[in-house]
């Protein structure tokens, strides 16, 4: 499916463009606080079609995430804007393709290597997965150990979320959040977690799948945006591990996409462009997106 993209500087153009019917994706420039609040107050469009170009410093973003119209963000602060708009359009095309049941992670990359897939049937496999990814990146990618460890930390956080935070009971209540994260647990069928990784010489992406579709996306997004706004967390026992883990992963260069089907599956896709220089890596283009229910 080819994605037709329209960049809108004035949100009031949106209704007339929507009525044309043949456009798939709208990038709306909401770079000021006023634009953002105005858009949120007046938005009527399906969130799947509209993606907002924002500066990460917008302080009103976390509060506005309650709005169903704010689910996908292209962060202007990072990277070259023309390149990012093209790359982002490709990503959203993949995610929005209605004929695809699962997010094809290999489509994110230009000339991907084979997709590696591992199914975790025990929580102890997490360390093994991290070691394998480390070995792969050190062997194949010309990047610093610091960047490798940052990628591994992001993967660690998301695997832990899938193993311990995703499982819910029949009433939708989380079952395992209180247990210590070093508790070994067997992962039977529904609790099994999939890890997919792909690399093309320039970028690395991974996808972690759980079979609950229970993630509280708004809560995570709020944490992530706080993390991107130079917010300093006060670490204590009450703070959600999942949120701060993702916040630091995002701040260090990751793009994140949550694709969720409630009660069925959540796919968390993380994408990094690999760079020799850490400063370039940390300042790379990134996006945050939510698809699904």
């Amino acid at each position: 499916m080819k994605c037709s993209v329209v960049l809108i500087a004035d949100w009031s153009e949106l209704p007339s463009l929507l009525s044309l019917g043949h456009l798939d994706l709208f990038l709306i420039d909401v770079s000021t606080e006023q634009d953002f609040e105005t858009y949120v107050q007046h938005a009527t469009t399906s969130a799947a079609q509209v993606h907002l170009i924002v500066n990460s410093e917008l302080s009103s973003i976390p509060a506005s995430l309650q709005s169903e119209h704010c689910r996908s963000f292209l962060i202007r602060t990072y990277g070259n804007f023309e390149e990012t708009a093209k790359a982002y359009s490709r990503l959203i095309t993949i995610a929005s393709s209605s004929h695809q049941e699962k997010f094809a992670i290999e489509d994110l990359l230009k000339s991907p290597s084979e997709v590696n897939q591992v199914t975790l049937t025990h929580s102890d496999q997490k360390i093994e997965c991290l070691n394998q990814v480390r070995e792969y990146l050190i062997h194949h990618a010309v990047i610093s150990e610091r960047i490798v460890e940052i990628i591994l930390n992001g993967l660690d956080e998301i695997l832990m979320n899938a193993i311990y935070d995703a499982p819910v009971d029949e009433n939708g209540n989380q079952r395992l959040t209180k247990i210590p994260r070093n508790t070994p647990i067997a992962l039977d069928e529904k609790n099994q977690v999939e890890l997919h990784t792909v690399y093309d010489g320039q970028s690395f992406a991974f996808k972690v799948v759980d079979h609950f579709g229970s993630v509280n996306q708004l809560k995570l997004l709020k944490h992530i945006f706080l993390g991107s706004q130079d917010h300093l967390f006060q670490m204590n026992e009450a703070i959600a591990n999942a949120g701060v883990g993702l916040a630091s992963t995002f701040r260090m260069g990751a793009s994140l996409m949550f694709i969720s089907k409630k009660g069925i599956r959540t796919e968390v896709v993380v994408y990094f462009k690999l760079c020799s220089s850490f400063r370039e890596f940390k300042n790379q283009f990134r996006f945050l997106a939510i698809h699904g229910s």
Binding site: R146, D156, F278
Partner: protein, 151 residues
């Protein structure tokens, strides 16, 4: 995580290395500490959110019990936590840290260690270091890297 503890004339010194994650048990690995603890963090490769919680819990407790803490050769994995967490380390406890450097000629990465005293004296302008290829190794992170230490 690994922790190797040694006694020195200045007090107990512990060398931390590896990933600080949900398997790290500071109480078990470091044991009893009296009045001073020096912590060498050169070998710390990464810290996940559970590791941060364990770290904050352990070292906050030591401070409450009157233990004086000093952190030496803090790797970038340790320093970058200061960009996120107010209560990770008290800035005056950091004695020295690794500063990431990059050579654009040969694309090499290195981490060189500087004292906070020397960095403050230079207003946190990291000196250019000669690379083995003949190029220049320059500071390879953003200004936020030093933010918590500047106060």
């Amino acid at each position: 995580m690994e922790a190797v503890k040694r006694d020195t004339p200045q007090g107990a010194c512990v060398y931390l290395s590896g990933a600080i994650d949900e398997t790290a048990s500071f109480d078990q690995m470091i044991g009893h500490v009296s009045s001073v603890l020096q912590v060498n963090c050169k070998g710390v490769s990464r810290i996940n959110s559970i590791g941060v919680k364990s770290w904050v819990r352990y070292f906050s407790n030591l401070r409450k019990n009157g233990v004086k803490l000093k952190f030496f050769e803090c790797s970038s994995a340790v320093i970058q936590q200061l960009e996120f967490f107010q209560n990770f380390i008290e800035s005056e406890e950091v004695e020295s840290l690794g500063v990431p450097l990059f050579c654009s000629s040969c694309r090499k990465n290195e981490e060189k260690y500087f004292t906070v005293k020397d960095l403050k004296a230079a207003s946190f302008q990291v000196p250019v270091v000669k690379c083995s290829c003949g190029g220049n190794l320059v500071f390879d992170d953003t200004k936020e890297y030093f933010q918590a230490l500047m106060g």
